[in-house]
Amino acid sequence: MRIGALSVRARLTLWHAGVLTLVICVFAGGVLLFVRARLYRALDDQIRADLATIDRVYREETGDLGELALRMGTRFEVTEGATVIYRTTGWPPVGTASFRQSTMADATHRIRVARDEGPVRQTLWTLAVIMATAIPCAVGLAVAGGYLLAGRMLAPVGALADTARKITAESLSARLPVANPGDEFGRLAAIFNETLARLDAAFEQLRRFTADASHELRTPLTAIRSVGEVALQRSLSAEGYREVIGSMLEEVDRLTRLVENLLLLTRAEAGRIPLTRVTVDLRELVAAVSDGLRVLAEEKNQDLTVQLDGGVTAHCDAGVLRQGITNLLYNAIKYTPQHGVIRVAATSTVGGDAVIEVQDTGPGIPAADHQRVFERFYRVDHARSRQTGGTGLGLAIARWAVEANGGRIELESLEGRGTLFRVVLPRS
């Protein structure tokens, strides 16, 4: 079985056990080597001491060597040239046990000492046996403990998965429980919840959009239908029929415009509108848009001032941006009352960003609506929207037009004081 196919819990446990075993083995090996070195050094020290003792006894009282051999229990041999002065029993040391030997010699005599390594080996062997039995037990315990611990640690993940599985498009408002917001799982749950919230908002927006779109599409359809049906029930003069048909055509116009706008937005959102971005003189663009819409402001006796700084350019698609600015200015004129003031300006910031401002003295937009005015079909004042006309898509298109060109659109508004839309196009 591949490691990857195992559960996270099993993998955690295996890794844990593996690492632990490795560490313990290295440690045990280290201990054995250390103890072994220590024991042999002690043995060597003892042999050196034996040599010194034997040497002293040999120099002072050669005859006492037998007594010494009895007392020390060490095997040794003292020779002078080829003559053996003294030799304990069992010399030379051979047989099953191994001996550690050492020699001390000078011009006249030579002393050789041998000590049995048995006790040292025995001690090392005992130590090795203890370790060999204790290590598997310790590892086994650690694995069991690790498995239990991993299970306990991973339990929240299982719970998260269970809860997440229950969340569908219909129950996006549900949230995962966050046990401890500080730990990893808490953060995971929190991130998941944020994603859910965004999804929920997106779905909500889609639901609203669908409802709004069907409303906007049905209204003209209903008008066409009822106007036609009512006209057919009565006999009208030619002029009367012309009126009826004209009224139906007006609704068709409205429907056509709505569909055009929706198509534009849908294509834009799908990224299917190719932009041709070149360096555009924004003063020219703003002047052209203002000139185009000036008649509307004049009809309402509004004061439309255009303020253009020198050399404001941006790297953008002129046609698309122009449409966006047109929509902004069109709205400004539409919502500003008679004799109001509208200001359009193209300037550049110190940093070199191009800025286009469209400011009106209309009713303003409540702070709560600042984000939502850019949504499709969103209207601040639903009651008034039928009379003022429009598709409710102008600002959505404006936002797309600006953002597609790498810019952003800002909104400042005070209720009752007017609104300022600021388009910022970063320096190319």
Binding site: R242, E243, I245, G246, S247, M248, L249, E250, V252, D253, T256, R257, E260, N261, L263, L264, R267, R272, P274, G292, L293, V295, L296, E298, E299, G319, Q323, T326, N327, Y330, G390, L393, G394, I397
Partner: protein
């Protein structure tokens, strides 16, 4: 003038036939690609109106075949697809002009007139309707001998109306041909309405006979008031 309409949608075909016949064209309607292909190969037409989405045989295919055989008949295509690529494809296949559905009949008629006029040099220096005169060289406008001051835009609108005198001009036509805005999603209708109202004030208000009429739901037309 003989016009062939290749359109499978029955209602649209009927409307096209009636609209064209009202302008005194001789109209043949083909309701499938096969039939259109046959007619175009066997009869002479001055103009072809071709729907691109046809059963059995794609409109573009017909168009390409016709052009390959060297027929120079002007072709106007109708399409529900209006992305740049579709237009380019249509024009590349040899179409002379295109209209995106839904289109206005007055606009279709204007396009056909333009196609039939194409190639003929009619350098007009003066336009006139009733007692309204426009001098295209000096750019002066007068009614009943009385000079009228117009802004540039108003002059262009009036010129357009005079060139289509007696025929309805839709807002879409003005948007495209006078304002030169291709995007159909631009809020220009109010601008057009205001401009027309101002033009009317200048050319009609002080005269008993009104010339600039609004046709509700369709557009504007330069003609004498209906008695």
């Amino acid at each position: 003038m003989r016009v062939l309409v290749v359109e499978d949608e029955r209602k649209v075909a009927k409307a096209l036939r009636e609209g064209l016949e009202a302008e005194h064209y001789d109209v043949r309607v083909a309701s499938s690609g096969e039939e259109g292909f046959f007619l175009v190969n066997n009869e002479m037409f001055d103009c072809v109106v071709l729907d691109l989405m046809l059963p059995h045989r794609d409109g573009l295919e017909i168009l390409a075949t016709v052009r390959k055989r060297g027929l120079q008949t002007p072709v106007l295509i109708l399409t529900a697809k209006d992305t740049i690529n579709d237009r380019v494809r249509g024009l590349d296949s040899g179409a002379d002009d295109y209209l995106v559905k839904p289109f206005a009949i007055p606009e279709l008629l204007a396009r056909i007139r333009a196609l039939l006029r194409r190639g003929r040099t009619d350098q007009v220096l003066k336009l006139q309707h009733e007692d309204l005169e426009m001098d295209l060289v000096t750019r002066k406008v007068a009614r009943a001998g009385q000079a009228i001051e117009l802004t540039v835009k108003e002059f262009e609108i009036l010129e357009y109306l005079l060139r289509h005198v007696g025929r309805v001009v839709s807002r879409e036509m003005l948007t495209r041909d006078v304002w030169h805005v291709a995007a159909r999603a631009t809020p220009l209708d109010n601008v057009i309405d205001v401009s027309i109202a101002r033009l009317r004030r200048k050319i009609d208000d002080s005269f008993p006979v009104k010339l600039l009429q609004t046709v509700r739901g369709v557009g504007f037309v330069l003609r004498r008031e209906r008695g």
